[in-house]
Point group: C2
Chain length 518, copies 2
């Protein structure tokens, strides 16, 4: 190989950089060597190492939600991609842009069924909106430009490029220029008129998702609510929200049938802005999957690929909602007196200490229902939720969000059972000095499953079932686990101790972990 | 739900037990609740909890290699299966039997694209020889019997049964009786005659895999070698071997082109017993993928599904090889004087202390090339290798092997970078008091990748590439990581300290970890 001749890997990398993609979360192997070594010849792309592919893909998810553009993941053949699939599933459900580059065996080597040979396309297909296997080095750059275009199409897609080793190492001609990106498209006048009519008729509500749940869209929704009395909702699994004092507050629709139907009771028209009608997370015997109450009609204002922000502003104008939105006031997170911890206490303490502009990652699972109540009055911040139900996205998303937002504090509110799926993310946080405070909700059980056991009508006295949801034998020691990966940690069991630990952690810089036991 | 009426989950479970399947490695969620709670009503199946699905599937792999029959894995929808795919890939490449039960949403719920909805079949297909999605509760038992039959077909297959939640919770009629299992079939007389002719012609060698590399097959191969001078080989990634003093020693063919071709030089006929001709692990520019030297012809004695053991015994008789096989002598692992550690020193010390009947798991990657040289003269033991190149199977396989063989010491020789993929296995070892000693090869780098960088012709001076293969910033502290999951650990840096730690660990019972730094 002559290092002075551009190879396929370098042409691809230069194409990404030219298209504005500048972060690569990587867990490379032999088949990705040429891509990795091109990083030094083609400046403009920063490589961030993860020790497990679920960390890599989850970091790309968190990065894109905050950066508003995709990162590249660099994965090693079928098994490497397989390890990253669960968090790609989450990104897909959140319609978050990700560009995967999956190295594969050299084309001629595929025939021999080597140990690592697998059907990479088959692994990729269920999570990919766009999927191409590069033919040879001469097409790598063009495929890369198309991958970026696909990933960035509104609201965001998963683009997977399979790069055979010989397409990476063989000579290529040139990088490819960026392609135009399909941004959000305007909604139709009919959609606006129908929504305006529903608002005028009364008992309407708005369910916001994607960009419409932030910034100008959220403010316009607040004006509409002030003018018409319409309630404002978000779904449990919104990819990203703005929240806190001085912002328009949203009611979060629960994912279980009974409380969701109760919350939506009385709504006659549910106007959907960028999202779907509410559905149950799981099916339960004799309970509905669709959570739109009887007598309530869903009405689409904007589909996910449409411009919900502009639609809300136009809608507010159309109905004459020119008055101010009602904004959440600071407060509501009074510190509990010294005592034991529970999710409400944790949320209140986080709310009290939250720095302005923080990014909150919420994978606290059973802990998360307390958040909105306590964090609506905290300093203004962004919230990232688990979108696809595949636990183990929290620590990685926090890692990626910190890479995207080096000047903002990232707070990861993380259930213990779920944290175990991708705990390797802590090492990446330590390596790059990322400014993340992880609060482990150490309830020491798969608590959500104990509750689900009841909900699905299985015997709640089953000792084997309860044994499967108990993670106390042995206790996980999160302070030791964090220390093993170079992250400073502390265990707290009282509100006072948590408050002190959090205060210290948010004023310092760099990764910290707080194990909150309850 | 009336707990007195058998549901689909219970009928499936009783079918498994009736078919001789009695271990379930599980990471269940809501959709698997009814299967889990049936465990108390249908005795005979032991459930073993893993905190990550890669642990569950890797444990099933290790269990089956030692138990000679499959375990059930219990996985939670598409993402849960996705997390287990890499180690199912390893099991598939090793032709190891595994039965996956993947819970899915209730049938009617699938239409709603809930957060966890995914194409479970698409995730399963690349790793599954047999794949069925159960229609309803009345077919669950029959599907279960067919899954067992498929998994147990010689030499072993991956059978995946997707179980919708309603098929689990709805009433079923009865369990299904076991189905006949397709055992290994006899090889043809022609195959025997051709192999005998090649042996008589001289310069023949045998390459053994699967059951033929153990017990009577191995002994017969040893008699053939003694009578004809034929060399005996195994491939780098043999699923399971018998090794040690008093056994027939095999030469392990390396996976890189040059040394493999050198080792096989002079062989005119390579007689394949249960395996494929040697191939390179990766393709390298300007190097061959097929590692059969020029002038050497591969000849199949037995395919993987055929009875290689009987074939070797018949072949030995046919050529009149009635004399004794040459057996490895005890020794060859002289303890190095006190000094620093390297893979050879670690292998020698393990060889010295290895208890008879131990099960050795080898995922030491760059460390493993020293093993055969030093362990051929150790006490007789079994060896399990990484079969599919998907790192992160070692700790889980050790866990499963210990469940299969509670009376044998399991020694897991494990590279540090690979160990990070599925470190959660240590928790399962602690929870069930499994008798596993993990030796972490703490070279603190993806050392194999530094070597591969050279092999594929990429720039070895690339600082970014070298940074991607360096895991020293920060150091992983394996003693703390183990302690965080309830496993006692110790760090050693000299041959004397390793020897003392290993001696103590093999005489104690229960999980231990030794971090061997070099």
């Amino acid at each position: 190989m002559n290092p002075n001749i551009m190879n396929g890997a370098e042409s691809l990398l230069r194409t990404f950089v030219a298209s504005g993609i500048d972060i690569c979360f990587a867990n490379p192997g032999t088949s990705e060597m040429h891509f990795v070594s091109a990083l030094d010849r083609a400046p403009g792309m920063r490589a961030v190492l993860g020790l497990f592919e679920g960390v890599v893909t989850g970091a790309a998810d968190g990065y894109a939600r905050m950066a508003g553009k995709p990162a590249v993941t660099l994965l090693h053949l079928g098994p490497g991609l397989a390890n990253g699939l669960a968090n790609l599933h989450n990104a897909r459900k959140g319609e978050v842009p990700v560009i995967n580059v999956v190295g594969d065996h050299a084309t001629a080597h595929r025939a021999y069924d080597a140990p690592l040979t697998a059907d990479v396309s088959a692994f990729a297909r269920p999570v990919s909106h766009w999927l191409v296997s590069t033919r040879d080095a001469s097409t790598a750059a063009a495929d890369g430009a198309r991958a970026v275009q696909a990933a960035r199409a509104a609201p965001g897609q998963i683009a997977t490029l399979i790069l055979p080793a010989d397409a990476a190492w063989s000579p290529a001609e040139r990088p490819a220029p960026p392609l135009p990106v399909q941004g959000p498209v305007p909604v139709s006048h009919e959609a606006l008129a129908q929504a305006a009519e529903a608002l005028r008729a009364g008992s309407a509500a708005l369910l916001l998702r994607h960009a419409a749940a932030r910034g100008k869209g959220l403010l316009a929704a607040g004006r509409i609510a002030a003018a018409t009395g319409a309630r404002l909702f978000c779904d449990t699994f919104a990819p990203r929200l703005e929240r806190g004092a001085g912002r328009v507050a949203l009611e979060r629709v629960p994912y279980r049938p009974e409380p969701a139907l109760a919350m939506l009771d009385g709504v006659k028209t549910l106007i959907l802005v960028g999202g779907q009608p509410p559905i149950a997370f799981f099916a339960y015997p004799d309970q509905p999957s669709q959570l739109t109450p009887q007598g309530c009609t869903p009405l689409v204002l904007s589909h996910p690929h449409e411009d919900g922000t502009a639609a809300l502003e136009a809608l507010a104008d159309l109905i004459g909602a020119r008055g101010p939105a009602r904004l959440a006031a600071r407060g509501g997170f009074d510190l509990p007196a010294d005592g034991g911890l529970d999710p409400a206490a944790i949320a209140a303490i986080v709310g009290h200490h939250l720095p302005e502009g923080a990014v909150v990652i919420d994978e606290s699972v059973t802990g998360s229902f307390a958040h909105h109540r306590f964090l609506d009055g905290a300093a203004p911040h962004d919230v990232i939720n688990l979108t696809g139900g595949a636990i183990g996205d929290g620590l990685p998303m926090a890692t990626g969000a910190a890479v995207a937002c080096p000047d903002r504090k990232v707070i990861c509110m993380q259930a213990d059972g779920s944290a175990m799926y991708t705990l390797q993310a802590l090492w990446t946080q330590a390596r790059y000095g990322l400014d993340v405070v992880t609060v482990i909700y150490a309830n020491r059980s798969y608590k959500v499953l104990v509750e689900e056991l009841k909900a699905v009508g299985a015997a709640t006295t089953s000792p084997t079932a309860l044994d499967m949801f108990d993670i106390t034998r042995p206790h996980l020691d999160w302070v030791k686990l964090a220390a093993g990966m170079g992250v400073e940690g502390v265990r707290v069991e009282t509100t006072r101790a948590l408050s002190e630990a959090l205060k210290s952690a948010v004023t310092a810089r760099g990764p910290r972990l707080i194990e909150a036991v309850y």
